[in-house]
């Protein structure tokens, strides 16, 4: 336990200069971040950017090539057994046994974590109540809908009362109502001091996190609260503002907009274009330029950057850096 003293006691996760190499390939490249207790930490990034590798390193499945990591006060390099006793993990495919009933799934995972019979019984009752699984205890988990499977999986991951839960794309493939309910549950649990490490592809979910980080090809390129990220100079440089241009001809409008002087960047979002423009370019000028070129514009309005804007800007910038480094 001597290593634990080196760790700032208040952090749930503290990762310092994490590196993981697979042969020549560096999957995780000098990643550092801290997750405080009770936070909902959203970990985002494209597929194959190293999200799962980081989770595997933090849960002690993959040795670190370099760097250090403390999870719930324990050094994962030397103490991964105990780390696993203190954390819960729910994967995107919910990892249930379809041929076992809801109750049997709960009992199995409870025993895996070594709960004694009395505690197992109490925890199962609590979990069933919290997740509303009461009517389904004798049902085979194969016959549950996606939302209920997810609740059961979450229940299984929490039987041993972990202080930290890893949720790997917890809402992939479930309906919007179940998605909303899961987030309500996460807020409730986090109010009780439980920390969540959540990966997701949904930007609206990222907006709900109290802390987000974005990993891009092994590099952490954003880390902070959603609001602090919106104000990053890379995202919102001085002397610029952001507008939303709604038009029926998005692709033509995009091509044209990008040629205009004063436009820093432009990206399509559904039926509209999000553009970062210089302060001296007035909204009316922009509208005039567009209509002069025969592009019908329904609406132009100023816009606060969304998290998606943030990640798009940072990705562009990082790509440019990568290419510059290659040349």
């Amino acid at each position: 336990m001597s290593t634990a003293s080196q760790n700032p006691p208040e952090a749930s996760i503290s990762a310092e200069h994490l590196v993981r190499r697979f042969g020549q390939f560096t999957a995780v490249n000098d990643v550092s971040f801290r997750v405080e207790k009770g936070e909902i930490f959203g970990f985002l990034g494209p597929n194959g950017s190293g999200k799962t590798t980081v989770i595997k390193m933090l849960t002690g499945l993959l040795p670190l090539s370099e760097g250090s990591a403390w999870v719930e006060g324990l050094d994962v390099r030397t103490n991964s057994e105990d780390v696993r006793l203190r954390i819960g993990y729910m994967s995107q495919n919910f990892s249930l046994y379809p041929d076992l009933t809801v109750m049997e799934n709960l009992q199995f995972y409870g025993r895996v974590y070594g709960l004694d019979p009395a505690r197992l019984k109490r925890r199962i009752e609590e979990t069933i109540q919290l997740n509303g699984l009461g009517p389904y205890t004798d049902r085979l988990s194969a016959r549950l809908s996606g939302g209920w499977k997810q609740r059961l999986a979450l229940g299984c991951a929490m039987l041993h009362e972990p202080k930290l839960l890893f949720l790997d794309e917890p809402t992939a493939g479930i309906d919007p109502v179940a998605r909303r309910q899961l987030w309500d549950l996460l807020f409730e649990l986090s109010a009780h001091g439980i920390t969540f490490f959540v990966t997701t592809h949904y930007m609206d979910e990222a907006e709900r996190c109290s802390h987000v980080a974005y990993i891009y090809y092994g590099k952490l390129i954003a880390d902070g609260t959603p609001n602090s990220l919106r104000e990053l100079p890379d995202v919102q440089p001085d002397g610029t503002y952001r507008v939303e241009i709604t038009t029926p001809e998005v692709t033509r409008a995009l091509r044209f907009t990008r040629t205009l002087p004063g436009i820093r960047s432009a990206t399509i979002f559904g039926q509209s274009i999000h553009a970062l423009i210089d302060q001296h370019l007035e909204l009316d000028d922009l509208r005039a330029q567009l209509s002069k070129n025969g592009i019908a514009v329904a609406e132009i309005r100023p816009l606060a950057p969304s998290l998606e804007d943030v990640f798009v800007e940072l990705t562009y910038k990082h790509q440019a850096l990568l290419e510059a480094a290659r040349v």
Binding site: Y89, N93, L96, Y97, F108
Partner: protein, 373 residues
């Protein structure tokens, strides 16, 4: 506290639930081997008897008819037809109606009476080497015997009298030969397939990934998954032995307890093989293919059908790598020859070593290829 077998009990209970819930699979995996036994036990007879034979007797006199009687009495040949030309003999063999054609030339009796060498043409269909071999042996020995009878004075005895005596299987019953070997193949079938599937199914469902993040330790996990199938394998063995002893009346000359004891390392090898397969395969289809890959050498190189002694050197060396080789030696040893532990301990030890080796390799592969992938 570090406990290398943590999670064993939880996994063991759960595995038993899986087996009970999927009773159909269990039932079939126990019944199909018995069906295979019935097919092989009743259906296959390696003793060549009553081979279809056509005869063209161009001579037709007493001497020629005596020769044909001797062929018939050998029990090896069954004369289905008498034909009247060389062409008909050929035709009967080509069409597959007969395996053997015998032509007695027109001057057969004349030559015998004049003390000359009389020739009999025996045409044998070589497409089945077992039948052909027996046909050659029997016709040659009938010819020799017939010749000696004519050369030697009455009541003379043969200078050398070979008295072959078949030990252990005096009636040359095929089930006695086949079933002890089949036991090894069937047991391998059940245990390897069931364990491989049980683990690959967890891979397919993603539950294996989940288990790795829990405090379950690799040996706790593997052992918890193995043990139920160990029990099933052992039960299967008892079932097969009971059927063999009472339905097929194969006497067990040695100690049943010794046989049961020596089957433990064999079941261990089969299960380890199943785990090794599951570390490679990512779907049940893939596991099936790999499992068949292990079944084939067990059938062909283990001495189950073809004797290992007659194999080319390379394959004979290969046969030492096949676990079934050792277990077939054990089953035939105990069941047919009444062998004791002093004869068979080395086979048991070899199996145990193989099992330990395979399990170690499988556990390592799991750590490096499955968990860290």
């Amino acid at each position: 506290m570090y406990n290398g077998f943590r999670g064993f009990r939880a996994v063991f209970y759960k595995e038993i639930l899986h087996v009970r819930r999927d009773f159909g699979t269990l039932f079939f995996s126990l019944i199909i081997p018995l069906l295979q036994m019935v097919l092989l036990g009743f259906g296959i007879d390696t003793n060549v008897r009553q081979v279809n034979t056509v005869v063209y007797n161009a001579d037709g006199r007493r001497e020629s008819r005596e020769l044909l009687d001797r062929l018939k009495n050998s029990d090896t040949f069954h004369i289905i037809r008498y034909v009247e030309s060389d062409h008909d003999i050929n035709d009967a063999i080509i069409s597959g109606h007969a395996r053997v054609g015998v032509k007695i030339p027109v001057d057969y009796s004349d030559k015998l009476l004049h003390g000359q060498s009389a020739q009999v043409l025996v045409l044998i269909d070589g497409s089945d080497s077992t039948v052909a071999g027996i046909a050659i042996n029997v016709t040659t020995s009938i010819g020799l015997d017939e010749s000696l009878r004519r050369v030697l004075p009455d009541r003379a005895t043969f200078a050398v009298d070979m008295r072959p005596q078949l030990l252990f299987n005096p009636d040359s019953r095929s089930p006695n030969f086949f079933l002890p070997g089949l036991t090894a193949i069937l047991l391998l079938n059940v245990t390897t397939f069931l364990t491989a599937f049980a683990i690959v199914r967890e891979k397919e469902r993603g539950t294996l990934e989940q288990l790795f993040v829990t405090p379950v330790q690799p040996y706790g996990l593997l052992l918890g998954k193995l043990l139920p199938y160990f029990g099933i394998g052992f039960f299967e063995l008892c079932l097969i032995l009971t059927a063999m002893r009472f339905a097929f009346r194969v006497p067990i000359h040695g100690s049943v307890i010794l046989l049961a004891f020596l089957s433990l390392p064999y079941i261990f090898v089969s299960l380890s093989l199943g785990i090794l397969i599951s570390s490679k395969a990512n779907s049940q289809g893939e596991a099936m293919q790999l499992a068949f890959l292990t079944i084939l050498p067990s059938i062909f190189f283990s001495g189950y059908i073809f004797p290992r002694e007659t194999m080319p050197l390379v394959f004979r060396m290969l046969s030492y790598l096949v676990p079934a080789s050792y277990f077939i030696n054990i089953t035939r040893g105990v069941i047919l020859r009444g062998a004791g532990v002093q004869h068979l301990w080395i086979d048991g030890l070899a199996l145990f070593a193989m099992g330990a080796f395979l399990l170690t390799v499988a556990a390592r592969r799991f750590r490096n290829k499955v968990i860290m992938a």
